[in-house]
Symmetry: D5
């Protein structure tokens, strides 16, 4: 299933690969489903990366995230899975993903995962 998901992500050539510049993409409308209760979860995803050869195309990234709309998956898992997918497709110089989930039972959670390329 991971391969299928990754194939949704489209890329375009980094127009300025000779400079290490940062790209931040904030997606406040992420939603998945709790695998235990079946109730929907909601999060804001903040992706920050330094592109190497490829940049992610924004509309394909939006479609990729909508793939989780009916998926039952834990907070910690989904954050690391999305980071793994993006690293696999983009091979960035560096990448960070912060997922801030809305409160459940009066308690809110934020997961932060970082990838550093071996240069």
């Amino acid at each position: 299933m991971s391969e299928e998901r990754r194939s949704i992500l489209e890329t375009f050539e980094n127009p300025h690969p000779n400079r290490d510049y940062s790209i931040e993409i904030v997606a406040p409308e992420f939603t998945s489903v709790c695998p235990i209760t079946g109730q929907p979860d909601f999060a804001t995803l903040t992706l920050t990366y330094t592109a190497d050869a490829k940049c992610v195309e924004l509309k394909s990234y939006k479609m990729y995230l909508q793939n989780f709309r009916q998926a039952g998956i834990f907070y910690e898992d989904v954050t690391n899975c999305i980071l793994d997918d993006l690293v696999s497709v983009l091979a960035p110089r560096a990448m960070k993903l912060v997922a801030s989930f809305t409160p459940r039972g009066g308690i809110s959670s934020t997961i932060t995962a970082v990838h550093e390329a071996n240069r």
Copy 2:
């Protein structure tokens, strides 16, 4: 009593143990009792940790915190006790607990305690 309290905390296996990622859990509805005046205290607890083998299950953490609802305990003590309990049960790679108490007599307090694993 500490052992009894700790037994409420349930854990699940860290789904991505090969990556040092951060988990933040904000609990704005913590309440305990002042051991001198018997009046209720209120705080927002912000827990941040890097899991090793185990993650804390959110609902059990909520139930664990409710255990302090009728307990008489000082600010400095309760913050360090909760951190000790979580460290004992999760054995995290790193953990920080920030407890921000609401004003009393026009004065508000925030206690911050940090645990670093010996690696």
Copy 3:
């Protein structure tokens, strides 16, 4: 039990009864218990009233509210009960109570009840 609760409320003589002035008291640390799940509820209570002969003493009002800390009672019920208790003890010229409860399951509620004296 209602009589017992009301007896906690103390009053003092309105120092300026010849003027219709407004008194607003905001209590952001109200907590009771859900009668179905047994989980704690949290609310901010905003009381606004025009005193007639009597004003409510602030410390006794705080103690009165703490009486609900372990009580299992619905949002709609507790808001109207507190208003009824205050109307019974103070006989105000007018009184409004707004109870704003924190989110549960991603949904938050606010109950507003008003009493008008028959003059």
Copy 4:
């Protein structure tokens, strides 16, 4: 389909029917689907009503709203449909529904519909 949807809504007896008090319920995690583009829409729903004989049970209201998660329906339509469903099930003395949708193409929309009982 409307009948099926309405059957999800559960009610409980208004505990203080002799007083016209207001109940406000804010649901910031509403999501449906655009019937033209198939893209998800997101809104915050603010329901305000004066109960007559019946109040809406919060958890059933949450489940009812989740029913729209995969439904293709326009902003103006869904707002009026939810109001119609609630009026049909609760027969309130008065009811207002405000639906604030997140921006699309840089433009955000809010629909406000009001029901007044014939008394």
Copy 5:
């Protein structure tokens, strides 16, 4: 020119014409050109209306507003012109347009125009 501009606006049938409900559309990315200096102006347009038989289609409204991107026109004029165009095309029961322009020379302006149908 006004006829040409109005022809961009598309409508759809009001799905609930028997109820007087309100539709608010906020467009924060409006830009036109000052007819004197040739410098660009920027505004947030907030349109609020009660539909009669027709609602404005959002995407066509966005395209309509982009028509002013290179147009030289004063604040007071553009606000009234847009209101006139929308009234002409939609024949709403009521309509209000608020245009808040960003500061020029340290001074910011907001124009508010209202249309009431003769019923």
Copy 6:
């Protein structure tokens, strides 16, 4: 003592008595003393009035308020007393005083008193 306090207030002639315009004065640094506990109280005073023949001079108003720095007096009393003093000295066409006191025991209070001239 009231006469002595009032004598601190200085006035100047209303420069535009033929127009009913409004003057608002916000004093966020008011402090008095609780007559029971001897602890200091803090409030923001918002005075709004329509002058008749006289306006209050700002510096004298500041000095007048400092007169309460060591005075033991209740919230409800001090608000009405200040209003009475200002009405007595200025004979305004209308006057309102709002006193917002900082939290004590987690509870904050606001007193609002209004004077209307008999015209």
Copy 7:
């Protein structure tokens, strides 16, 4: 001097005189001088009016306000003078001026003056 000041204000013909629409102009950089201490005063002026035949030209309004930069004048006086000047030059259907001055001695003031045309 008033005549000279008024001559700075330029006007243009109201482009939509058949509709009673509102124009709000916020000038946050007004400064004059206290006639007693010689110290500078600072205010935000919010002008709101319904034009009749004429609208005020923004740049001339800015130049007009700069005319007070070295003028010694009281809060209450300058607010009413500016309103009088604008009424004299524009003959508006209605006009309101709100002047919010920054704090002096911990106390801030806002003057609000309204003009209604005799129609």
Copy 8:
């Protein structure tokens, strides 16, 4: 006088001396008197420290601060004096005091002083 002031500060034994944790205490209701003009000054004091053997008792700290209510003392002096008093009584591992004073003559000041123990 310094000795007398320091004797008001009470301490309790640090319940977790084996951990370097941080205690922050915010006191927004500090007031003293300007030694030149005799006018009251107002500040928010933010104290942050790492306790060694002793913690400061909150109520005694509040009483200690009230000691400056009628004292004439400069901003720079009072900040350093309070820090010296607390260091003398608590012998903390580290301590910082930030005093933010409200505006005078349109200008506001913040003094920050730090103590590091010689370990």
Copy 9:
């Protein structure tokens, strides 16, 4: 075209070249066009630099940015192009450009590019 664009930028001599001080210029009204959809994009540009011999003249910078009003260009490209143009014209000691674009499809992007001089 790049040369033509750069010729719009005017400079003036750095008045204090012996000190490394920072200049930040925030331009919240940048707009260009998406090269795929032809729809307008909107961004806030924050430029920060340490001048060497030359500073950029503000009005020419504003005119330079308006040059992109009808240009079809991607986020990542326009940010790097503007930085390149400014570096070419000013030869600064250091320069950073942050471009924050408004949401499209619920997703917003920020591009950050940095230039360091070889000293």
Copy 10:
């Protein structure tokens, strides 16, 4: 002229010279004049310094800043000049000046200059 300006600044002896503490002074009402257009500029100045032997007296600093009220001077120049004047008079251990100017033509600027003593 620089000598004349500097002579306005008065100093007092640092009451705690043996400690490196920080003094921050925020002046939000700075105004000068653009040397090209003759139009007034407005800025908030934030001065932060570590005193050596001398502190700046607040009222003299206010009077010193008013000296620029009618002076025609560029942003970059005035920021560095004020820093130079203060360094010359106070000989501080360290000093930073941040000048945030209000928008002109939709663009706002902030100049930051730092002085480090040679110790």
